[in-house]
């Protein structure tokens, strides 16, 4: 017990000195408004809380960023920063990042885009078959364009078009609804036309197929 109390007394002294000096380590800062904090540090200290250390988020509330297209990430971070992307999950969590510098945005995008691509997860086989059909061929009679045209044959994305392979199905469903029903993602306006005729069950089927397309490493 004496050792514990001695430790506690030392701790008080140490805490007091730290309080007075207020020293900090920029490599472990969580200050999102300090331009001197690197994007990598912000990714580790702040973003990782929701998106995971390598961008492989656990909760489907938060999109996976692992191996995401860099241009797409830069565009989204820029839109969050300028409050131009206003879907509810974005405003709830991302609207605080208003002071990111262009260099930090670039570093953050570089950090997550260079991670191993998102992992996949198998789901309902029947649903996946329907999802794959829509993904590869679209629904010509309804005006739904095939996803592969922009997002690539493996759902890997291309520049401003995001990687979809391995993304949480719930997140994809949520975002398709945002495109269909709102104008909260102006940069994604073309998706309104692409998805407007997609039924709820087809939306789920596509999302589940996309989630199953992820990497299996």
């Amino acid at each position: 017990m004496k050792i514990i109390y001695a430790f506690m007394r030392l701790s008080i002294l140490w805490l007091a000195s730290v309080l007075i000096l207020g020293c900090s380590n920029i490599d472990r800062s969580r200050n999102v408004s300090n331009p001197n904090v690197s994007g990598k540090t912000l990714a580790e200290q702040v973003c990782s809380n929701c998106h995971g250390m390598t961008g492989e988020s656990t909760s489907p509330m938060f999109p996976k960023l692992a191996g995401q297209q860099k241009d797409y990430l830069v565009a989204q971070l820029t839109d969050f920063k300028g409050h131009e992307r206003s879907d509810s999950r974005g405003t709830t969590y991302m609207w605080g990042f208003t002071h990111l510098t262009n260099a930090q945005v670039d570093e953050l995008a570089q950090y997550f885009s260079s991670q191993k691509p998102m992992l996949g997860r198998n789901s309902n086989e029947l649903s996946r078959a329907r999802g794959e059909e829509i993904f590869r061929h679209g629904l010509p009679d309804k005006g739904v364009v095939q996803c592969v045209a922009c997002h690539g044959a493996s759902g890997e994305g291309n520049g401003a078009f995001p990687r979809l392979a391995g993304q949480h199905a719930n997140y994809v469903i949520e975002q398709i609804k945002v495109f269909q029903q709102t104008d909260q993602r102006p940069r994604g306006a073309p998706m309104k036309q692409v998805t407007h005729a997609l039924s709820e069950s087809d939306t789920t089927a596509v999302a589940q197929f996309l989630e199953s397309m992820g990497a299996m490493h």
Partner: protein, 447 residues
């Protein structure tokens, strides 16, 4: 007519406060300090927006010393208006009256990249009655937690560690199965039967009475360990017990005999939209009795030794629009009172809390809670019981509405199936446990 008139005025007061609050929110666009600092909505840190239940992100925000985000205005405030009604009146002049109950000021947020804090001071508007039966207010320290925290994280490991100075055992905890932040999140302050008739020491008896310095570590987002030592908050740390003084008849300061030790272990895991925690904690403390006439602590006649050991668990499902949280806590306490003041003989006490909450779209929610206390009979400690026991079982249901993220309107109904050891005539004077059913209507707002 008088009843109708009183009810009408009570209703008008609550509606008036609600309207002023809503107008205030819209014109000032004020937000509490942490939301200011992070630029994020309350639901980022609070499960379903039900303050103070924390999400995994909110827990990490607290464990990293409230330092995420940018330094901003640290001032915030909270006001609670309420109306408490006891089925068979407890005799309080406030029974059935709508009142602005209490208001708090906060100094909260980031100080440096490693230091942050949360300091709350509260003005109670209906604290005590003077000789003319007029209510007087009281301003006092509320919860306080100042931290230094650091985080070493890379692809292989994630270590969060820190030191905390605080004034309430378990206020530093990040799970809502812990005593300080457990249910009820807001409750009647003047109803005689808003809670169980007895509680273990760790369940609030030392709140705003002590100063604790603790060290903690959170490893790989899975294992949490902490140890804290407490002393009476006096002298240089008296700001942590502000409002309580030795000898004060209404707010006497509890004096610890030496140091008290608190420990905490928890394991947590996240999968998909779900997360869980199982944990244990303990408190070992000795307190001096207060003289019943002078309220001064008696330090030369022995002290009361409390040994608390608890287990707790929490489950959360967080997937908008649905939020579900479940909490469990059980505490066993052994008591040895060498002064024979508070207890006539060695005693034991057990408490249990099980709670489930559901919130839809971060707006509409409800809770169902079951609490019990059981203990050994004692002729000194439980004079309210004809059987000299604390045993009670209490159910609470709550419905609430969150029209804005910093406004909550709720109603709680609590009823007892057993009180002071019996369901009927528990006091020997004919009062039944069912007479203690309490309805609590509240309007909570922070800005």
């Amino acid at each position: 007519m008088k009843i109708i008139s009183t009810r009408f005025h009570s209703g008008c007061l609550l509606i008036g406060v609600a309207m002023l609050t809503l107008l205030g929110m819209q014109s000032a666009q004020a937000v509490p300090s942490f939301a200011n600092q992070t630029g994020q909505s309350c639901v980022a840190c609070h499960a379903g927006g039900q303050y103070p239940e924390l999400t995994p992100y909110g827990r990490m925000f607290k464990l990293t010393g409230y330092t995420m985000g940018e330094r901003s205005n640290p001032l915030a405030a909270m006001v609670v208006a309420s109306r408490t009604s006891t089925k068979n009146s407890d005799g309080s002049t406030l029974n059935g009256r709508a009142i602005v109950d209490f208001a708090s000021v906060f100094l909260a947020g980031k100080v440096t990249d490693n230091i942050g804090g949360f300091a709350q001071y509260t003005q109670s508007f209906y604290d005590t009655q003077d000789t003319n039966n007029n209510w007087t207010g009281h301003f006092a320290a509320d919860n306080f937690d100042l931290r230094y925290a650091d985080r070493q994280i890379d692809a292989k490991s994630d270590v969060v560690w820190g030191l905390t100075l605080h004034n309430n055992p378990s206020v530093q905890d990040v799970w809502n199965s812990s005593p300080a932040w457990g249910y009820p999140y807001v409750s009647t302050t003047h109803g005689a039967f808003g809670a169980l008739p007895a509680a273990t020491l760790v369940e609030g008896a030392l709140a705003q009475q002590v100063a604790g310095i603790g060290g903690y570590a959170f490893l790989n987002k899975s294992v949490y360990a902490e140890i804290t030592s407490y002393q009476t908050a006096k002298g240089s740390t008296s700001f942590l017990s502000y409002g309580s003084k030795t000898g004060d008849s209404n707010h006497p300061l509890t004096l610890l005999d030496g140091n008290a030790l608190y420990w905490r272990l928890a394991y947590t895991h996240e999968w998909g939209a779900q997360n869980m925690m199982v944990g244990a904690f303990g408190l070992n403390a000795r307190t001096f009795p207060n003289d019943s006439a002078t309220n001064m602590p008696v330090t030369d006649a022995g002290s009361t030794h409390f040994k608390d050991i608890g287990i707790d668990a929490q489950y959360q499902y967080l997937m908008s629009p649905h939020t579900f949280t479940g909490n469990f806590r059980a505490i066993h306490e052994t008591i040895n009172d060498a002064s024979f003041t508070a207890y006539a003989a060695p005693a034991s006490l057990n408490t249990l809390m099980v709670k489930g909450s559901y919130v839809y779209r971060e707006k509409y929610g409800g809770s169902l809670v079951y609490k019990t206390v059981t203990g050994s009979a004692d002729t000194s400690a439980y004079s309210f019981s004809a059987l000299n026991v604390p045993d009670a079982s209490m159910w609470t249901t709550e419905l609430f509405w969150i029209p804005l993220q910093n406004v909550r309107l709720g109603i709680q109904y609590s009823w007892f199936t057993k009180y002071a050891g019996a369901s009927s005539n528990y006091d020997g004077s004919g009062r039944n446990a069912s007479d203690n059913a309490t309805t609590y209507l509240y309007l909570w707002t922070a800005f």
